[in-house]
């Protein structure tokens, strides 16, 4: 028994030792599969700061985690556009001091001054994504440029869509020429009719890994986030990626510092590190989202301005979400 106690105490002490060797720590919450582990390890080595890294898989989950934990639990988080707006409204974020981030100069100004935080007081762009149409050209020869081209009876049971009501109903709204944040009932009804018509061509709704459906040739068409589409293309060169002419969803994730963060300086160091062009490049090489950097861009300026001009953000529509939820229940 005594031996056991001594063993435990020594393990305890050893743990203490490893902790002591760091100069500080930082508590990060980020999306799953977003930063390669290697980058976090390199940062820890270079700055001697321990990164406590947690993940979440939706903005709502992030909101729940932040609002249910004590102030100061988390330092750095990566909410998307509409969640930034909401968190600013709820006074959950601290202002960002740009002077502490020398690599600020690597940010492509196209991504600054967005509607959800017009002066970038609380947020800086991290990575962007858009929805795209993904086509397997081995089997599909017809031209597809708009969501309305997906109706052909040739594509029965041949499409995968995201399992996300805002994105899918938003797409139906855009196909009818409306905004994807529409809340008027008659326009939503039209979107519903559109989706009911498309239903027989839809094989599945999947948000976890829609690329798998194209890679395994389960389907030949899909509407998914661009990073998924690019990975599918890496596996099958016959895949073509198209920005729909009706418009598409864009999502921008941001660096934000949580109100009452205890390790602010370390958070700035981490942001600065991630903004370094070589590090930033490594991230989007692994997870091919749209890089928001100036010296690390993976998408041409021309394509970027098209994306930002034609893409729309999903906006918080409050209680009107109930109407979307009903449509979702009706089409499924």
């Amino acid at each position: 028994m005594k031996k056991l106690i001594i063993l435990f105490i020594s393990i305890f002490l050893l743990c203490g030792c490893t902790n002591k060797s760091y100069d500080g720590e930082i508590n990060v919450l980020n999306w799953t599969s977003y930063i390669p582990y290697e980058i976090i390890r390199d940062f820890e080595k270079e700055y001697n700061i321990k990164v406590n890294y947690g993940t979440y898989s939706s903005n709502e989950e992030l909101l729940a985690k932040i609002s249910s934990s004590k102030e100061g639990t988390y330092d750095l988080i990566f909410p998307s556009d509409y969640m930034v707006e909401l968190m600013i409204d709820r006074n959950m974020l601290d202002e960002i001091d740009i002077s502490k981030i020398p690599n600020y100069s690597n940010i492509n100004s196209l991504f600054l001054k967005q509607s959800f935080d017009i002066d970038n007081k609380y947020s800086l762009p991290f990575l962007a994504a858009t929805t795209v149409i993904t086509i397997n050209r081995e089997t599909i020869k017809d031209s597809i440029v708009s969501y309305n081209d997906l109706f052909s009876s040739k594509y029965e049971n041949d499409i995968v869509l995201l399992d996300d009501q805002r994105i899918v109903i938003g797409m139906a709204l855009q196909a009818n020429g409306y905004s994807m944040n529409e809340i008027e009932n008659d326009k939503l009804d039209k979107a519903k009719e559109w989706l009911l018509k498309l239903n027989k061509n839809v094989k599945a709704f999947d948000s976890d890994s829609p690329k798998t459906f194209l890679i395994t040739k389960e389907v030949d068409l899909g509407v998914m986030w661009n990073a998924e589409a690019i990975i599918a293309k890496e596996q099958n060169d016959n895949i073509e990626i198209v920005y729909p002419t009706d418009g598409f969803a864009i999502s921008l994730d941001n660096y934000t510092i949580v109100k009452g963060a205890k390790n602010k300086d370390n958070a700035y160091k981490f942001i600065n590190y991630l903004l370094r062009s070589d590090v930033s490049k490594k991230i989007t090489d692994e997870y091919p989202y749209i890089n928001t950097g100036l010296y690390s861009k993976n998408v041409s300026d021309e394509e970027l301005s098209n994306i930002l001009y034609n893409g729309s953000y999903v906006k918080n529509i409050g209680m009107n979400i109930a109407a979307y939820d009903r449509i979702w229940a009706e089409i499924k």
Partner: protein, 284 residues
């Protein structure tokens, strides 16, 4: 004697605490939530309303409830169809084989059901093992749609929930007095008559017990509908999940959950009426 009861309560106490904290309290909280309203961003406003319950009786949700129940009913029926022959064949085997088989039924529980469900994708998808096998033999020309539809959901549900039917049906069938069946045979009863007049009446409560254990999870297992149904068919479980995650309407989600609990109690009542023993349901 006194010492013994103290000893007993020492071991029962954790279970009581467990039931109270992890089952009873959450249900009370859900019941409470179901009478609240939600604010514009998923917060909860504490003013009393019955709207959440009235909203369930919207045609959209009623249709979904019916669809969901139909899937669960078909699942239950298939489970019964598999369990009876299984139990009747096993009945005549030695005690050793009976024990071994019942243990084997439990083995899949050692693996997480989510992983087992993913396993089905490899078998059922368009270029999956079953379709490849059938096309290579020339039995079918084009791959069958075995999943990403209701068929996929029913396959997944049946697979996952079958043990809950097998075990009570087996134990009911094993209890039948052998001499009754022998006597019936001697008097010239046909197999169907034996089944109808002897086996069925004596096992019906076991079947109903199994049906409850299959039917109720089958309206709630949203992950099977998501994975094998391709997210195309929403069952009640998905609707509840969506209220808590995407629609951020916790009170409405709670109301549907309570509604399901009420249905469960109603079914248990029917079970009791049919002469079912409560202890066989796991002490409900």
């Amino acid at each position: 004697m006194k010492k013994n009861s103290g000893f007993k309560s020492f071991f029962i106490l954790p279970i009581i605490i467990y039931t109270f904290v992890l089952i009873l309290l959450p249900i009370i909280y859900i019941l409470f939530l179901s009478f609240c309203t939600s604010d514009s961003y998923g917060g909860i406003l504490y003013n009393f309303t019955l709207d959440n319950y009235l909203n369930i009786f919207d045609m959209t949700y009623i249709k979904m409830l019916l669809k969901s129940s139909l899937i669960a009913l078909v699942t239950t029926f298939i489970c019964i169809l598999i369990s009876y022959p299984f139990a009747l064949i096993l009945r005549n085997k030695s005690e050793h084989i009976k024990n071994l088989t019942t243990k084997l039924i439990m083995v899949p529980f050692l693996t997480n059901s989510l992983i087992r469900t993913y396993g089905w994708i490899i078998l059922l998808r368009k270029n999956g093992i079953i379709n490849k096998f059938l096309t290579s033999l020339g039995i079918i020309a084009f791959p069958l749609n075995l999943m990403y539809n209701k068929l996929g959901i029913i396959i997944g549900m049946t697979y996952t929930l079958l043990p809950f039917m097998l075990l009570p049906v087996c134990s009911a069938v094993f209890e039948i007095d052998k001499s009754l069946i022998e006597a019936a045979k001697d008097l010239g009863a046909k197999p169907l008559q034996i089944f109808k007049n002897i086996i069925l009446p004596q096992t019906i409560s076991g079947v109903f017990n199994g049906s409850l254990m299959v039917f109720i999870p089958a309206i709630g297992y949203f992950f099977i509908a998501d994975i094998l149904g391709g997210g195309k068919t929403m069952i009640i479980g998905n609707l509840i999940k969506n209220q808590f995650l995407t629609a951020r309407n916790w009170p409405f989600g709670s109301a549907i959950a309570i509604f399901l609990i009420i249905i469960t109690f109603a079914l248990v009542k029917v079970y009791k009426k049919l002469g079912g023993k409560m202890e066989e349901l796991g002490g409900l």
